[in-house]
């Protein structure tokens, strides 16, 4: 408790609008500091932001450019919300995404499957591969207590080198000569686009459905109840017999699977082939972590936060083209936003109230036990 001038800062139940306000303030603060970075880079921050708004937001045809990265970010983010709710730190969405892309590529090019079932099969295989890529660290955590942060991260690199190897070695397309690509997918494996754009809308629909299903799972089902209990208090989960095994496997499979779907969308909707891992995913698996963190445990909120980071990706493109900055600049935004988000987290439990100083606080005649902190 503190009194700052006429304001009283007090602990309170976290409310929705306050969460939104604090999160928005954190994002704005991150943009301000990023402006300082631009300045250090030798760029007038006001001009930089003006260009970003002009070319990235107001220019015609920019919305599709925002939506394109939004699609994988939504899938990754909505899945990770589930994992984070169970306090499972899945940092491996990047690798899970790539695993999904690899599986989809296999279906498209090497399974011999053709016809209308090709795309559903690719999505199914992508989900399964992403889930499996996530399940290995889950099993290691549950059986050998290997920290999943480290293991999922390592799996990202394993996936990256796996994709590199595939496209330079065994899966290198005979028709592409010197490039490290596979052959292009057959037409049956191409996702439909919204005409005139590069938005593979089926994946977008899948993303919204995944987010909605995640919300339903978390809020309205017994499994979601278990995920919440496990995440909020693992001791209590053990005490009432919630199986940590089941919840951990479930959230790792679901978040990995969702990331896998994102990988399918990228190869089937954007590239139509498997190529260098840094081109399959522009760091979506890492940015998705912030998408999920900003969504504050609500899968549906990931729709909005994914769009915000879609905006940052398209701003990154604009800065690359109009301001000749490296695309890496998006990492600066990502890092700063994440810092401000977690830095502001403690504010969520407090509320600032107008309360001119009073003399003393009267003790309520608390019935039953009213032990102050530390009295027990």
């Amino acid at each position: 408790m503190a009194q700052v001038g006429p304001f009283r800062i007090e602990r309170a139940e976290t409310t929705g609008w306050w969460t939104v306000a604090v999160s928005a303030a954190a994002v704005v603060a991150a943009f301000l500091v990023a402006g300082a970075v631009f300045w250090a880079y030798g760029l007038d921050p006001v001009r930089a932001y003006a260009v970003i708004v002009r070319d990235g937001l107001l220019a015609p045809g920019t919305l599709p450019e925002v939506l394109r990265p939004t699609i994988p970010l939504l899938l990754v983010g909505a899945g990770l919300v589930l994992a984070f709710r169970a306090q499972v730190y899945n940092i491996g969405a990047e690798g899970q995404l790539l695993a999904g892309a690899v599986a989809a590529t296999w279906v498209a090019l090497f399974s011999g499957l053709r016809g209308p079932m090709t795309l559903p099969a690719m999505f199914a295989a992508g989900f399964a591969a992403g889930a499996l890529w996530g399940l290995l660290p889950a099993v290691l955590r549950l059986r050998l207590s290997v920290n999943e942060v480290i293991s999922t991260l390592m799996m990202n690199y394993v996936a990256q080198y796996l994709v590199s190897w595939l496209v330079t070695g065994p899966w290198k397309g005979p028709s592409v000569r010197g490039f490290a690509y596979t052959d292009p997918f057959p037409a049956d494996a191409w996702l439909a686009l919204i005409p005139g754009t590069r938005i593979h809308w089926p994946t977008l629909v899948v993303g919204v459905v995944v987010a909605a299903a995640g919300a339903l799972l978390l809020g309205r089902t017994t499994l979601g109840f278990e995920i919440r209990v496990q995440g909020e208090n693992p001791e209590a989960a053990r005490y009432v017999g919630v199986s940590a095994l089941r919840t951990t496997l479930l959230v790792m499979a679901l978040s990995g699977g969702a990331a896998g779907l994102a990988g399918v969308g990228e190869v089937a909707g954007v590239h139509h082939k498997l190529l260098d891992p840094t081109q399959v995913s522009l760091g979506y698996g890492y940015t998705g972590i912030i998408v999920a963190w900003l969504a504050r445990g609500r899968p549906l909120a990931a729709v909005l936060t994914a769009a915000l980071f879609g905006l940052i990706y398209s701003a990154g493109d604009v800065m690359q083209v109009s301001l000749q900055m490296p695309f890496r600049v998006t990492s600066v935004f990502n890092g700063l936003i994440l810092f401000f988000l977690i830095g502001s987290e403690r504010l969520l439990a407090y509320r600032i109230r107008w309360a001119p100083a009073r003399v003393a606080v009267e003790a309520p005649a608390a019935a039953g036990a009213s032990a102050p902190p530390g009295e027990e």
């Binding site: 880079y41 940092i91 190897w165 330079t168 990492s331 890092g335």
Partner: protein, 287 residues
């Protein structure tokens, strides 16, 4: 054959050097109870700043000092967010890595593609200093009052606090020290190991460093052996490219890390356990 093995080991030592420096720093930070997943970010910043400074001034040692400074400054940010603001340490470290990679990528543009004019000798300076540092840090940790303070803060900050140990200060110092070491580790890459600057040149080594701290059981001396092992593995992934395609080999250190963590997870109760308060922010009066 023997010559081949010897040369592999020497190269392994070279590659193991940044791992060792980084791991020593991470071990100290974690001994104080703070995980720093920002090693990758601090290393890449160190690599860039070391190169830029060395290239500008012509003195690689100045480059290393600058790298140490920038690593420490980056770690200070992590310390502020995770110690003072008590935010989630894992996420704060991730944010630091993203920020470091982004800043180095942004500011380092234009420095790429030029070899360093006056590089530091690769084997004669930082590798032996690293081993010496490991011995000193080991003695400091287990046989001095400072080490006792550090270990107590990591095991039970409440006990340290009740003994009038300034818990937050100790954690700040340990985290910043970790950043200094990570900065030097990155600097080694760009002024000695491969005297040039390339974006993303740390290539995931920062994460291996974090794993090494665990693998070494948070013991500075054991980190020497662990770093040599992983350095050799890294080197082999280049050396064997004559026979095996590079990608599966480059995958090896990462896959091996998972394997090693899995194999060593069930150690005896007395050795190599994580500090009890690792990753837990300390709030006075809360149990």
């Amino acid at each position: 054959m023997l010559e081949w093995v010897a040369s592999v080991l020497v190269r392994g030592m070279a590659f193991g050097t940044p791992l060792l420096w980084g791991a020593l720093g991470e071990i100290y930070a974690e001994r104080a109870g703070v995980v720093n997943l920002g090693v990758e970010g601090m290393m890449i910043l160190g690599a860039f700043v070391a190169f830029a400074t060395a290239q500008t001034t012509g003195h690689p040692v100045l480059g290393l000092l600058a790298a140490a400074g920038v690593g420490g400054a980056a770690a200070l940010l992590h310390a502020f967010v995770s110690v003072t603001l008590r935010a989630n340490q894992y996420v704060s470290g991730l944010a630091l890595t993203m920020l470091g990679l982004g800043l180095a990528g942004l500011l380092g543009r234009g420095w790429e593609g030029f070899p360093l004019d006056h590089p530091l000798p690769e084997l004669s300076v930082l590798p032996p200093l690293g081993v010496l540092a490991a011995v000193l840090l080991w003695a400091l940790l287990y046989h001095t009052r400072w080490g006792l303070i550090l270990r107590t803060v990591g095991e039970s900050p409440a006990a340290a606090d009740a003994q009038a140990v300034p818990v937050e200060l100790v954690r700040y110092l340990a985290v910043v020290f970790g950043g200094v070491m990570a900065g030097v580790a990155g600097g080694f890459l760009s002024v000695a190991y491969r005297p040039a600057w390339t974006e993303g040149m740390t290539g995931g080594m920062g994460w291996i460093v974090v794993a090494l701290a665990i693998f070494a059981g948070w013991d500075p001396l054991r980190a020497v052996g662990a770093a040599l092992l992983f350095g050799t593995l890294f080197h082999l992934s280049f050396r064997l490219q004559t026979w095996i395609p590079p990608e599966p080999l480059q995958m090896m250190p990462f896959a091996f890390t998972i394997l090693v963590l899995a194999l060593t997870s069930r150690r005896g109760a007395r050795t190599g356990q994580a500090p009890e308060a690792l990753g837990v922010p300390y709030v006075r009066g809360e149990r």
